[in-house]
């Protein structure tokens, strides 16, 4: 994994120097992952395609701002995609009325819980271990928010809990996660 990340960093640096060939290779080696992330949050292929397009244009335009010392290349690119997806979900035309959470429930049930597969990199192993230490409801709320892009109110309706309760689960879950990861280093 370290090798793959190194080479992504090299490719990003070359993109910063306007190397189109490097950009092609960057796309080839990262687009499936990023498309997966976008699809999972947006749950619609056409939206995910549009977001992916915008994100790679943005990655190309800002490759020179990528700083390998500050974040791993995949973290950097994934942040761009996740942010774009969350902005996309905010667009008023896309706000789907889903008061009983049925649509979301259905979409989510198609996607198996991905936490179990979290064991690739060392960081991911530490994170998986710490997630296991959370209460199940905290873990579930965090996973739904992260993977499926659910807002607090969507979490509340999906989990059939009052808004305040899910907010607390998320907040406490994040605090415990931070403490656990700090201890894991």
């Amino acid at each position: 994994m370290a090798g793959a990340e190194d080479s992504l960093a090299t490719l990003l640096a070359a993109c910063g120097r306007r190397d189109r060939r490097a950009f092609t290779r960057l796309y080839q080696s990262s687009s499936a992952k990023l498309f997966g992330v976008a699809l999972r949050i947006l749950r619609r292929e056409d939206w995910a395609e549009e977001v992916l397009q915008d994100c790679y244009v943005s990655i190309w335009n800002h490759a020179q701002d990528y700083h390998p010392g500050l974040s791993a290349p995949m973290t950097w690119m994934t942040s761009i995609v996740r942010n774009r997806c969350l902005d996309w979900l905010r667009k008023p035309r896309l706000e789907v009325s889903d008061s009983d959470g049925e649509m979301i429930d259905q979409a989510i049930s198609d996607n198996p819980e991905p936490l179990a597969e979290l064991e690739r990199s060392k960081d991911a192993q530490a994170l998986a271990r710490c997630l296991q230490e959370l209460e199940a409801k905290q873990r579930q709320a965090i996973a739904l928010a992260f993977y499926d892009g659910l807002s607090h109110s969507e979490l509340a309706s999906h989990l059939r809990q009052p808004l305040g309760t899910v907010k607390t689960w998320v907040r406490r879950g994040l605090l415990r996660l931070k403490a656990c990861l700090a201890g894991a280093v």
């Binding site: 992952k33 992330v37 943005s58 020179q64 995949m74 996740r82 992260f146 979490l155």
Partner: protein, 250 residues
Amino acid sequence: MRYRDKPELQDRLAAEYVLGTLRGPARARFRRWLQDDATLARRTEEWAARLGPLSESVRPVRPPARVWRAIEARIRAAAPTGAGLWNSLAFWRGLGLVASGAAAAMIVAMVTVGPGAPRPAPAPVVLRVPANEMPAAYLAVLSDPKTRKPMLIVSAMRTSNQLWVKTLDPSIYVPNKQLELWAVMPAGQPPKSLGMVGKGQKTMLPLHAKADRSLADVPMLAVSLEPMGGSPTGEPTGPVMYSGPCVKYW
């Protein structure tokens, strides 16, 4: 601002921004804070590093070929046409001039992919500076890329439209040539001339608008060597002699 002296609140907002549960106007507001607050940006990066590995387990899905074709077409359309040296990032990198302070990468990544809505005007700022502290200002120290020696200091108070240039080394003047100061704009935009550096130790250059408008988005200032009277084309024609990041002090 309410959040500034509350590290726990900052940390929670950063965590929920990365997790995605910070939504709507709160998310937009947070993103604006990120641009000006290095501590908040650092906390956000830390959270991105903490939660980022979650993405590793997302199932990869190969996007259809049309996505790549569209990306290529957009990049080709946006390529600079004949803008030459100054727009070449390779050139800037070669000089070691890439202004990415702590967290800048993350902020750029997060801000520039926003929904494209115009950013609301910044809230009016009350300029009350504690005694002995320098007032809120834009600052740049321009140095020689080879020797790294600082050669000029450029400053402008936030609400002023006067830009002050102080020369630190009289050896910068070249006979029969003039030094022109430029605002190096974000990628893809041509640099803007700020005026000619005078022969004295200090030069005042008028800005076309208050510094808060004319310098807010300028990542870097640079000085090029030009014929007497300045660049004949409106864009730099001579070599870049000195440059440095343009930063905010407040």
